[in-house]
């Protein structure tokens, strides 16, 4: 008994708590109970986005023990933008991926967005200072870019024949407002409503790669 107590005490020194913590990924599907989103064939954007997020969650957790995946809303829930930001900041997520879909008319496109409102030239120097919600993204500006770059590289390698992939843009998007953790918004143009699963597999691959890199 004494030996096991001693062993567990020693483990605290040899295996820091951070090493045992899983990678936390938050998926934020577009739309909610108040906002159905765009119409894609015979369904709404919120349904496709939620199904895609649930699929990615299922695949990632089934394949990896060290990845915890959360979805910001369940089917039929309502979530405000700042509510989502508070949630991901509180749990200190390693990556937040906001998913959005629309009906592509001519070509399928993949757009990657990061939060930016033109204030990126003034980096946050004091991490303990008071800053407004629209400056929260400056706390991890580099990580935002790194996450978006991972997605961009993967999509360029594997999806460029099917969809045209656009380089990440910095825009003032509502979904990423106030997030002080690495976050990006992926907007995918679907030719058919069922194409989301194909993109879901690629999202799983990128997020697995991201967890291995970090």
């Amino acid at each position: 008994m004494y030996f096991y107590r001693r062993l567990s005490f020693l483990c605290l020194f040899f295996f820091p708590a951070q090493a045992m913590q899983p990678h936390i990924i938050v998926l934020d599907p577009a739309g909610d109970s108040h906002n159905p989103g765009r119409i894609i064939e015979d369904t709404f954007e919120r349904t496709i986005a939620w199904r895609c997020a649930a699929y990615v969650q299922e695949q990632l957790t089934a394949r990896n023990d060290n990845i915890a995946v959360f979805i910001t809303r369940q089917s039929g829930d309502f979530s405000a933008p700042l509510q989502r930001a508070q949630y991901v900041n509180r749990i200190a997520a390693h990556a937040v991926v906001s998913l959005s879909f629309y009906q592509a008319t001519e070509t399928a496109d993949i757009f990657l967005y990061m939060y930016g409102n033109g204030d990126d030239f003034f980096p946050i120097i004091n991490p303990l200072g008071w800053y407004t919600a629209d400056q929260a993204h400056l706390l991890c500006a580099k990580e935002h870019g790194a996450l978006a770059a991972l997605f961009y590289t993967h999509f360029m390698q594997h999806c460029h024949t099917y969809a045209s992939v656009h380089a990440p843009y910095k825009i003032p998007c509502t979904a990423l407002f106030g997030m002080a953790v690495p976050a990006c918004l992926i907007e995918i143009g679907l030719k058919k409503a069922d194409d989301w699963q194909w993109y879901g597999d690629h999202l799983v691959a990128v997020l697995e790669k991201a967890c291995n890199v970090w």
Partner: protein, 174 residues
């Protein structure tokens, strides 16, 4: 007799001094009315300006003739109304949007529309490109505005994807 003259002069100087002091300190105001029977002629000039709109994968330009006003607010209002009319004529938007009022303060133009101008089905990219068309139009018109705040019915414009709570720079984001 000399004493009487000296007293009159000093009293006169005192009164003049008091009046001058009152005028200088703003207690006394002189107003000279300049009514004229001939009405003032305001010079009305017209200028040709370019309207920018995103079409497919490139910028499309349209030349319009505008009544050029000294007031930058009225100029931007005319420009924005022409720009929304162009979008409506090209059937990019399904209803005609009218700019209710424009106010400029500290280099920021507050543009209030009567309706939310964009289509729900548009992608974020298309929406941004459309907005940047208006921003580019205002920038090229050279009216001395650096930022634009979009309003609907004099309230902050709400969009499910884009944040309009802060002014957008006329140079755009893309």
């Amino acid at each position: 007799m000399k004493k009487y003259q000296l007293l009159c002069c000093s009293m006169g100087a005192l009164v003049i001094g008091l009046l001058l002091s009152a005028y200088m300190s703003g207690f006394l105001i002189f107003f000279v009315s300049r009514t004229s029977l001939i009405p003032e002629k305001k010079e009305i000039t017209t200028q040709q300006k370019l309207l920018y709109s995103w079409s497919g994968q490139k910028w499309q330009t349209e030349v319009v003739t505008l009544v050029w006003d000294e007031s930058a607010e009225r100029t931007i209002k005319n420009l924005a109304n022409k720009w929304f009319s162009l979008l409506y004529q090209e059937r990019k938007i399904d209803k005609k949007v009218v700019v209710q009022s424009v106010l400029i303060a500290r280099g920021c133009a507050y543009i209030s529309c009567d309706y939310y101008p964009f289509l729900k089905e548009w992608s974020i990219y298309t929406k941004i490109r459309m907005i940047e068309g208006l921003l580019k139009t205002i920038q090229k018109a050279d009216v001395g505005v650096q930022k634009v705040q979009f309003l609907v019915q004099h309230q902050i414009m709400h969009d499910p994807h884009l944040d309009f709570s802060r002014p957008w720079p006329v140079i755009g984001f893309l």
